[in-house]
């Protein structure tokens, strides 16, 4: 009796699970059908719809993604683009697998946000072989791979580094100072571009600014605080006059590391990028001398607009570029409505 109960229990559990899962699937299918019917009823009957895979390395699990995705989905609904969104969590192998799935599903187009810039070549080749156009969002490809994509929309990541350096050069003036540099994650093309934009501009416009050391972070405040703290220890607080952070979360971490040493961050030259909910108040308080506005909603929306333009033939020929303007944000304009933070 007891034995049969033990055998029966897993069977009942599994059957229940199967029923629940099948029910979910059926419900999902019904919902999809309903929404498709609604869109056909309410929309223009002649409007063409497209199936597009968006291969992203983040989603609602990150601050940027939480405002990037809603706008992306809103623009997709408006333009008749049926999006399937994936999130590889910055794992190149996972994104490559998702790309294989996308190519097998034969969508009309693919929007790619590279998890690791160096590792997307096989994905691009597979999409090209299958005749699926690819556009890139947020972080552009390396030069050797650009010919395999139809366009890029997103921030001018090199330009953002330039803008952050220009703020630094302006506030420093002619003073001889030394700074430490905190970059984004390893191998990320945004991190590399911003790094190059910043260092090139500093070398050209204000060689009086010496970069003592640079380290990578994972874009988070917590890691940045730890890395900054270690760099301050290694270089000596007395030798550091400022900090360049590749992102406002990183800047917030660096400021926290300075304050943990009992010093006022306002006494240091600090610049970031992003104008985020974390960075904007720091600019207003005077702890962060300047940042560069990046709109996540602009980014998400234009990713869909670009692939739609490619699929409708509105753009053809040369690789299309939709670059977000790099607006500088300092204490003078930090509270303006047109640079209100989004993420």
């Amino acid at each position: 009796m007891r034995k049969s109960r033990l055998v029966l229990a897993p069977a009942v559990l599994l059957s229940a699970a199967a029923l629940v899962l099948s029910g979910c699937a059926a419900e999902e299918a019904t919902t999809t059908e309903t929404s498709a019917a609604t869109s056909t009823d309410s929309g223009d009957a002649a409007a063409e719809t497209f199936d597009v895979y968006a291969l992203l390395p983040q989603g609602t699990d990150q601050a940027y993604g939480t405002t990037y995705l809603p706008e992306m989905e809103a623009v997709a609904a408006e333009l008749g683009v049926n999006l399937t969104i994936t999130n590889s969590q910055y794992d190149a192998d996972k994104q490559a697998s998702e790309c294989e799935i996308a190519v097998a599903a034969k969508p009309d187009g693919i929007i790619l946000w590279p998890a690791v810039g160096d590792a997307v070549r096989p994905c691009l080749e597979a999409a090209a072989a299958a005749g699926i156009p690819v556009t890139v969002t947020n972080s552009d490809l390396f030069d050797a791979d650009k010919a395999l994509s139809a366009g890029f929309s997103g921030p001018d990541t090199y330009g953002q580094g330039v803008a952050s350096a220009e703020i630094m050069c302006e506030i420093v003036g002619g003073a001889e100072i030394s700074i430490i540099q905190l970059n984004g994650s390893i191998g990320n093309s945004t991190a590399i571009d911003r790094d190059n934009g910043f260092t090139d501009t500093v070398a050209a416009n204000c060689p009086n600014v010496t970069i003592l050391d640079e380290q990578n972070t994972d874009w988070t405040k917590a890691t940045a605080q730890q890395v900054a703290s270690e760099m301050i220890t290694a270089q000596g607080l007395e030798n550091i006059d400022g900090i360049y952070a590749a992102d406002d979360s990183i800047a917030a971490g660096a400021i926290a590391a300075l304050e943990a040493r009992g010093v006022d961050a306002a006494d240091y030259f600090i610049t970031g990028i992003g104008n985020t909910f974390m960075g904007n108040p720091l600019v207003a308080e005077g702890k962060l001398d300047g940042t560069v506005f990046q709109s996540s909603s602009w980014d998400g929306g234009n990713a869909v607009r670009l692939i739609h333009s490619v699929l409708t033939g509105a753009v053809s020929g040369d690789r299309e570029l939709l670059l977000m303007p790099s607006v500088k944000v300092t204490a003078a304009n930090a509270t303006d409505a047109d640079v209100a933070p989004e993420w």
């Binding site: 229990a9 699970a17 699990d61 969590q89 190149a92 294989e100 599903a105 590792a119 070549r121």
Partner: protein
């Protein structure tokens, strides 16, 4: 006169059905198979593309399963190897770096050789020093992660022979890519070793009762070394395959591999305490997990929801273990009995 007690062994094991019943009772994959059927049914209804594009699904199963197969070798002995994710990353970096300076064959050999050294260190701490394998391999996990970053100068290492990498990712036999073929080759090799070779069969004895294994004359320490070499070697092979397919080695690779590998092994009915489990079970677990992941990806389900599904499957796999069910049933019975008694008073 000596009293002799006759113990009848396997009285029900007569005839075909009796033998089949006994054989099935010995297996640990039952729950894995049941879950596989449930998931396959769900996927068939919701996302048939998982089956029509089976080469893609097989690719995902191989991605999760390759590391899990090696990991099972140590799990059978009741040990853990948390360093597999970092071994994957560091071996990819070594292979690519050496290949760029010499050729790909030497690069692969260098990566595999490095994995043997890593495995020997892990096994030394576990078998000779007597450290808990969780702690020893956790230390190795961090050390290798740092080593991968140092060796790569904190940048992905691009494979110079990009054409080879692109070709490596293409189907070799029918729709099967080298990754899938390597996965099945590794499965067959480890399965044969664990089920047909004396040393491999002793893994279960080592995991089941270590003292009894010592007493029976099984060279336990040597088996632990062998298990870690298999685990590390297969992880390194996965790193090599990943780096070749992506045409670059990412020093931060493997972030999602570790938990997925353990999940595949557990879903397949392997006991983390050792002594029970099988390589076939891990294959079934990896297949279940891979199919589910592909289906959820095609559905556009966001990662947090995917994790709820995968966590649910994992819990179901653990909860449907007879001993867990007995415990749950016992707990419920006791609670109800307690309530009944209180009401009676």
């Amino acid at each position: 006169m000596t009293n002799q007690t006759v113990i009848k062994v396997g009285t029900g094991a007569t005839g075909f059905w009796g033998k089949l019943k006994v054989a099935l009772a010995r297996r640990t994959e039952g729950r894995g198979v049941a879950l596989f059927i449930v998931i396959a049914s769900f996927v068939t209804v919701s996302q048939p593309l998982v089956f029509t594009a089976y080469q893609v699904t097989l690719g995902r199963i191989a991605l999760i399963g390759l590391v899990a197969l090696g990991l099972t070798a140590v799990i059978l002995m009741g040990e853990l190897d948390l360093s597999v994710a970092s071994t994957l990353a560091v071996s990819g970096v070594i292979m690519t770096t050496v290949a760029n300076q010499t050729n790909i064959a030497i690069g692969i050999l260098a990566a595999l050789a490095a994995s043997v050294v890593i495995s020997l260190v892990n096994a030394y701490f576990v078998a000779i020093v007597g450290l808990n394998s969780f702690i020893a391999t956790l230390g190795m996990l961090f050390a290798l992660r740092g080593l991968a970053l140092v060796l790569s100068d904190e940048q992905p290492v691009k494979l110079e022979n990009t054409d080879f990498g692109i070709a490596f990712g293409q189907p070799l036999v029918g729709p099967l890519t080298p990754r899938i073929l390597i996965f099945f080759a590794v499965f067959i090799a480890i399965q044969v070793f664990v089920s047909r070779v004396k040393a491999g069969r002793e893994f279960l004895a080592v995991g089941g009762n270590r003292q009894a294994a010592y007493d029976a004359g099984i060279p336990v320490k040597r088996r632990i070394f062998t298990g870690f070499i298999i685990s590390g070697g297969v992880a390194a092979l996965a790193g090599v395959v990943n780096s070749l397919e992506r045409t670059a080695a990412d020093p931060t690779a493997g972030s999602t591999v570790l938990l997925a590998s353990f999940a595949a092994a557990i879903i397949g009915g392997n006991y983390l305490k050792g002594g029970k489990g099988s390589i076939v079970g891990t294959l079934i677990g990896a297949a279940s997990l891979g199919m589910l992941q592909v289906a959820l990806t095609i559905s556009g389900v966001q990662v947090p929801v995917q994790e709820i599904f995968i966590g649910g499957v994992l819990l179901l796999a653990v909860l449907t273990d007879p001993s867990s069910l007995r415990a749950v049933w016992g707990s419920i019975s006791t609670t109800f009995q307690g309530i009944k008694n209180s009401l009676a008073k």
